[in-house]
Symmetry: C2
Subunit: 149 residues, 2 copies
Amino acid sequence: MSDAATELTPFLKELVRQVRAQDTYDFFQGRPETDLLAPFILDKAKAKEIPIIGDPDPRVLARLNQFYAAVSLTIEQKCGIMASPVLQLSHEGFGRIVLICGRLVVVSKTLRDVHRFGFPSLEKLNAEGERLVAEALGLIEIFKPAAEL
Amino acid sequence: MSDAATELTPFLKELVRQVRAQDTYDFFQGRPETDLLAPFILDKAKAKEIPIIGDPDPRVLARLNQFYAAVSLTIEQKCGIMASPVLQLSHEGFGRIVLICGRLVVVSKTLRDVHRFGFPSLEKLNAEGERLVAEALGLIEIFKPAAEL
């Protein structure tokens, strides 16, 4: 946490909090924050080992939920409006996730191949989280009355 | 279909179309429309036979989807904007369904005890469908730019 290489952005810190919140058995206690985020990184070598078609297991579903929970909570921190996720997912890992503020859909994403959910690097994980938050805040600004409903 | 007792409202006609669309084996062919809607009716006697706690089976899930598809399509017929359902449901039959037009949530409903999904009468089934459609159309009128996004 102290050196530059492991200094986390606010979004990644929120994601770490989400992972810790579900760490019921203190498996991650005392381990560096980047260790907690390692399962979110799917570089080329790791991606190659995962079959093209497969059913998402509970661990990858937990990470998917943690990622969108971190997006939701960052949105709330920035604008004060609670965002709640609604996830529709088939057993094969296809579906849709939306984050909703009031009556406004602030994030909408089609999901495919959820068993391969992950990001090429920590930077890309952070960039995607921040992109979704920024898009949501932009929509909330335009359609505030619907978001506050 | 000809006498007053079985004259269906536009919403119920749409629901019949949804049921027929999934009737792959022509099980319902040639049978009166009220027969197709009978599984949606859960009167006191039938409700008593269903356990308080239970997992929703594929048939009740199909009916849930058909009901909200009929609501979605009726909304589209009335205002020209497509509505798409997103359903998040646990194995125990708890969850949430939203219908979305563009970026606007036009219907949002918490689901409980989905294994007991049904309506006390045909009139109440129709009333609930029409209520959801009316609510959606009201929201679309207020927040049209978000619905058209």
